[in-house]
Amino acid sequence: MEKRKEVLTSLESLGARIYEQMDKGFFPSIEMPSRSTENIYYDPNVRQFILGGKKVRRSARNIRHLRPFTQLVWTAFFSHELTMHRKTSTLRDVYYSAQAYEMSFKDQQESNNIITDLETVLGLSREDFNIFPEERSAVFGDLTIEYTVPGYEGKRLNLTSHPDCVMIGPDLTSAEFVKTTADKVIAIEKGGLFTRFIEESVHKKFNAILVLTAGQAPRATRHFIRRLNRELKLPVYIFTDGDPWGMHIAMVIISGSANAAHLRELTTPDAKWSGVWATDIVNYKLPTDPLDDVDVKRLYELQRDPRYKDPLWQREIKTFLKIKRKAEQEAFSRYGLTYIVDEYLPAKLEETS
């Protein structure tokens, strides 16, 4: 509720700022922190990337800025409409809605960039002004939520009530957490394993809320995981493939991405990456594939990344580089379908808690 007011005020004052400049006969301009790579720093205190002090100025006087400037103002206007009327929109939808105002974007990428600009200007995330990516990640577990969206206010739902799990969409993200018996959160990269965990009643056996990230976790999911961690004080364990890309999925949930350096409240610094580690590949003698050139290149990049400075990460990167192999989560199936749940999972939860 509070957030919504804050968002509306923030958008309105942006409008007022531009209006006043024009009304006084000036070309309107907006200042915002630069998102260029030279202005992105890792802040060890907040344990995520942040933007430095560099600012950029978008001015309607500059012919090259004019179009993006107008698009930014339109996006602000459109977001205000959405928030005002409690409607939501997807990135794709924004792209098309613009055409109704003769404000066409060249492509999806352009409209996404402008939305990121607006986030930077306002210091809010797009979910705050009701623009969401397509839903693809999901949650399952004993958590009762209460919706706050129009038409569903006060309506409650237990997240075990749908055997196919519940999508993490805008309505869920904005819902209140009412109660839970769970004492941990397990985030899983892949849909196959997520389904296996539900079938094997991992949520009951381990008292866990299961979250499917479906690859790189969308921001709404990252925010949702953070809320589970902060509001319900639940520890978070992340299971990914045993390769540099899986590692990084975990890392983005923990420490955020450079792309979202202008945003806060998307990270869960205390979350743990529980596997599949490079050392697991060795210890569990998992079936493997050789590392590709891009995998190796990525590992060297990660080795230099400030987010990866902890000994655990460095050790795992070195091990990957030494064994030159990678393994998927499904690799555990060589020991039978339930091995991962019966043996591996408890061991890893133990190890990383």
Binding site: E12, G15, I18, Y19, M22, L66, R67, V73, H80
Partner: protein, 508 residues
């Protein structure tokens, strides 16, 4: 041992046997050449009196001969000077007889074309030609003629004299010939269009065998000054010409001989030349031996101090008329014309006129539309061999901001007392370095002007686009920020729009 027989043939006989060199190669070329030669004679006839020409051409179908080839009757009427009655038979019935063996710029130079056409008509249909002419005096003369090919003499079959009540002046030529109009049609129509382009003061009417009427109307009655006759320039003479002058001269010494028979040779120049060539000024030209005449010719060519020929014997179209003609026929968006100063090659004066036109009705195609003219005659065949085309192709057009797909027409007109044609058919101009240089310099000049036009247009376009962006987006920013701020009335963007308008970029 085979016996070789020698016989003399007449000029008519020669061209009868060698009609290819005069352009009467095949039925389609022949009909084109016939129309062209007669139209050119008519234009010359009107221009020599500075009368705006009115020319009517009718081609009617008379009968079939074979596939494609048909018999046509060609009638060409003009309002020109007319032919004096006693000259009519020879002027139309004797090859290489005519009024054109003088040193001034004319369309025809050999006195050949019109008669070639009549000769061609006679050998293909064996019908007499009909010539009606009056110089505007009290009588009109009508002749029915054939050419005695072996003797190169006119045969008068019938002669009528009529009272000229209306004081009509002009010439009508009518005869039958074989030809293939439908194959020749594109070239004939192109010929009329291009002729209209460089003769904007002429009315041209053409009625084709299907009865279709093509009319090219004059846009001006202003005409270029007719050329003056001129003496030969010393650089351009040969032994034969010297011999003829010596035979005819009334002067008894070399000084006067040079002064009065040559172009741009005065007393001083004549003296200097005689000194240079070691000839006594008092020498009687009639006493020159054959060897001395040959030596004289070589010395004339060697002497560096003769002034170049002046251009009074030339009648270029002039920039205004050229522009008027192009605007009339092509309706371009932009045209630049340029007349070069007179120049000479081998003692012959010449003037190059060039034009470049952009847009309008000029078709967009790969490469330029090229119009070539010599003494106001369109040159329609053998484009690739022409010097103008070579010059155009060797220029770096990108320097002038010209892209290959732009609708651009280039016109090159060369006028001279002796156009350096490569063939009697008058189809393309030889690659003489002096001519090439003039064409190249002329084209560079108009190309520079085209570049200025294109640059400016691009600038205006870019400026318009820039203003367009401001006037598209500023009102939107105003609108959305007003709604976002919850205000009633949008801020006025007119002042902001005015301020982005750069100095000197008014709407054009």
């Amino acid at each position: 041992m085979a016996r070789v027989t020698f016989e003399e043939i007449s000029a008519a006989d020669f061209f009868y046997r060698n009609r290819d060199i005069a352009g009467f190669t095949n039925p389609s070329r022949a009909i084109f050449a016939a129309i062209r030669e007669l139209v050119e004679n008519s234009l010359d006839a009107a221009e020599s009196l500075k009368i705006p020409p009115d020319i009517y051409v009718r081609l009617s179908h008379e009968g079939a001969v074979g596939t494609g080839t048909q018999v046509y009757r060609l009638r060409v009427e003009d309002n020109g000077i007319g032919v004096p009655p006693r000259h009519i038979p020879s002027a139309f019935g004797q090859i290489l007889f005519g009024s054109k063996y003088k040193l001034k710029q004319q369309r025809g130079t050999f006195g050949l074309g019109g008669k070639m056409a009549i000769l061609y008509g006679q050998i293909t249909t064996h019908k007499p030609a009909c010539v009606i002419s009056s110089t505007g005096m009290s009588k009109i003369y009508k002749y029915k003629l054939m050419i005695d090919i072996q003797r190169n003499r006119p045969l008068i079959l019938d002669r009528k004299i009529m009272i000229n009540k209306t004081r009509w002046r002009g010439t009508i030529v009518e005869f039958s010939l074989e030809g293939d109009y439908f194959r020749a049609m594109p070239k004939i129509l192109e010929y009329f269009k291009q002729t209209a382009m460089v003769n904007p003061y002429a009315n041209l009417t053409f009625v084709d065998p299907k009865g279709r009427l093509y009319k090219f109307t004059r846009v001006t009655t202003e005409m270029p000054d007719p050329p003056k006759e001129t003496l030969p320039h010393p650089y351009g003479v040969d032994v034969e010409l010297l011999q003829r002058l010596i035979n005819a001269t009334p002067y008894r010494n070399m000084l006067e001989f040079l002064r009065y028979h040559f172009h741009r040779v005065g007393d001083k120049t004549a003296q200097k030349f005689l000194e240079f060539s070691n000839i006594r000024p008092s020498k009687n030209p009639k006493r020159l031996s054959h060897e001395e005449i040959v030596r004289l010719m070589h010395m004339l060519k060697k002497f560096k101090e003769f002034l170049p020929p002046d251009a009074s014997c030339l009648s270029p179209l002039g920039e205004n008329l050229l522009r008027a003609g192009i605007v009339k026929e092509l309706k371009p968006e932009f045209v630049a014309v340029h007349q070069r100063r007179p120049a000479t090659y081998a003692g012959h004066p010449f003037i190059v006129e060039v034009a470049i036109a952009y847009g309008g009705e000029i078709p967009k195609k790969e490469g330029f539309v090229i119009y070539r003219f010599a003494n106001r005659i369109p040159l329609l065949y053998d484009e690739a061999s022409d010097v103008s085309v070579r010059v155009i192709n060797s220029m770096n057009w990108r320097r002038y901001k010209v892209a290959p797909d732009m609708p651009i027409a280039i016109l090159v007109h060369i006028c001279s007392t002796k156009v350096p044609y490569k063939t009697v058919g008058k189809e393309f101009i030889a690659d003489r370095p002096e001519v090439r240089r003039e064409i190249a310099n002329g084209l560079r000049e108009v190309a520079r002007r085209l570049r200025r036009f294109l640059t400016r247009r691009e600038h205006v376009y870019r400026e318009k686009k820039r203003l367009g962006i401001f006037s598209k987006y500023l009102p939107k920013i105003a609108q959305f920020s007003t709604q976002l701020a919850g205000k009633e009335k949008a801020p006025d963007v007119k002042k902001l729009l005015r301020s982005v308008r750069r100095f000197g970029t008014e709407e054009t």
